[in-house]
Point group: C2
Chain length 339, copies 2
Amino acid sequence: MKPKITLKDIAKELDVSISTVSKALKNSPEISKDTKDKIKAFAKFYNYRPNNIALSLKNKRTKNIGVVIPDIVHHFFTTVFRGIEKYANQKGYNVIVCISDESFDKEVINMEMLANGSIDGFILSLSAETQLKNDFTHLRELIDQGIPVVLFDRVTSEIDCDKVILNDKEIAFEATQHFINSGASKIALVTTENYFNVSEYRRDGYLSALSKNNIEVDDNLILTLPYNMKNDSLIRDFFKTRKIDAVLCVNEIFAVQCMNIIKELGFEVPDDISIIGFTNGMLSRYSHPSLSTVAQHGDIMGERAAQMLISRMESTEEEGPFKTEIINATLIKRGSTIN
Amino acid sequence: MKPKITLKDIAKELDVSISTVSKALKNSPEISKDTKDKIKAFAKFYNYRPNNIALSLKNKRTKNIGVVIPDIVHHFFTTVFRGIEKYANQKGYNVIVCISDESFDKEVINMEMLANGSIDGFILSLSAETQLKNDFTHLRELIDQGIPVVLFDRVTSEIDCDKVILNDKEIAFEATQHFINSGASKIALVTTENYFNVSEYRRDGYLSALSKNNIEVDDNLILTLPYNMKNDSLIRDFFKTRKIDAVLCVNEIFAVQCMNIIKELGFEVPDDISIIGFTNGMLSRYSHPSLSTVAQHGDIMGERAAQMLISRMESTEEEGPFKTEIINATLIKRGSTIN
DNA sequence: TATCAACACGAAACCGTTTTCGTAGTATTT
DNA sequence: AAATACTACGAAAACGGTTTCGTGTTGATA
């Protein structure tokens, strides 16, 4: 066991001052070549590395960024996270992850914990509870303290900061239009309770595509499901009792659940009923038939978010007004639609 | 914008010394009630929180743990991570995540980066490349420096440290036995190239179940697929050209790929061919029929790993010899097997 | 009245760096 | 020979805390 060596250790051993060692290792011209060589050799031999914590304290920045997401066993969030981690890593940053587990309290506590010096900035996606409560004082305080924050996907207009979002409405429009173009008119929407504002936007896109094509909206064709529950019977009932040509689902779990039940009821996918989901995850790729779906490009969202945050953190002057970047989703047409 | 307040600020404002402020906030009996009240009120008003970095430097521990995993868009690893994060959080630790992306270099660089004071210990699962190279000097050095390390799932016997693994062999045996019990004898194995030692253990379990039941091993019934590739044609060829009753797959992607192709070839699942996979993820749950699978209990693995690490980090004396904890997988019987 | 303990607080060291500034010694200039 | 300019280094402050130890003031004791 050989513990980490410090500047002080080197200084003592080589009988020079700490400052000299520090300067020598940074190749300062103040130090003579002889001394530098001696010190560098010694440092290399003992594998000296400066202590990050001491550096953080000195420089008043940690090179850590905090990522707070509602869930991690979740395809979209992991892809976003991967995008963040990759970019951050390139830029020499490390990433501290907290899972809010859709809880307001966990979100608040974790962020306050990290805000006390552990990180230089935050990237987060609001928890369901936070969106429900509509309470953003924790965010406001952080921003007030000068900590940069980037919101992604689950954002709020209440907070003025950088944001990265998907063009949810437009892509839902496009998906719905795709159904219409292929001859569907009884188009259903399977969505979550509306405290997720992304669901809201998707519904908007769905509705405006219908109205643009002069299709009357039928509330009976909109199924609202609780998030993350066993809802097979609701779905079965839904498809059994009405005539439906196509269904747009706001996530891939709903989409695959619908597909399984549709097939079980004896309908053919996509001939009788077409399906489009959101989230281009494993389920969409490997279901049978494979699911047409909206790819949210989480990697890109994550990368952009990290980029915005880091540029904000590293600029000394105020970097101008906050921006909202919109990531363009793409519709991936696969086996569950007529293309 | 009101920046963070420090002890020094409070001291100056209240015209006492820094030491007095520090002691007052820690409720030291050395300080009079009056002074304490005054200081506490002031601190509360300005929302004083001690700076984590300064504390870390002083205490020589960061309350951060580093988690290094090969991949994050991956059901098993995310469940393990969730287990780690949950336990760590309870214990007041934060988690820094690095994704090695199956690369040796990224694994090494990230760990060395973090080891310079940023974390108190590591939890990691080896990258594919690291396992291939069989080079663990980076781990050895960290352990040498006194940094506790816990390996999980993808471990190595070359390194002496705490470990958490699955009873891969036993559960593969059990799965194979389940096939045999339901009348199968032509039992296939679909596995990865063997630099993943977990695949190796699963193969062992498979083989020993066959031999225990006096079924001759047929190498033609073992399909080795490249990791993470398009391999539909290999699979199709495999099932088209031999008689198979049941197939054990070492992950759920292989399992669902096999199932889709089996169905496409006109066989019935499970009547003609039964399937068991590993990883109880979305694919297994939502495929049709749902897949019987080995639940690896990632949450529990993560929790145990975090537990071992934290207890190691917090014990001052040497905590005795390293342990290897074995998590018992369970076989979840669903629609893809005859139960 | 001298002694002593208790009280309440401050000074300073320390954690490991970086960086500014001061300075002894040597070399150059006039 | 005196003034000046480099060279090469060290002392010390600073980042923001904690903690040990020292000390001035007060009140009680002998």
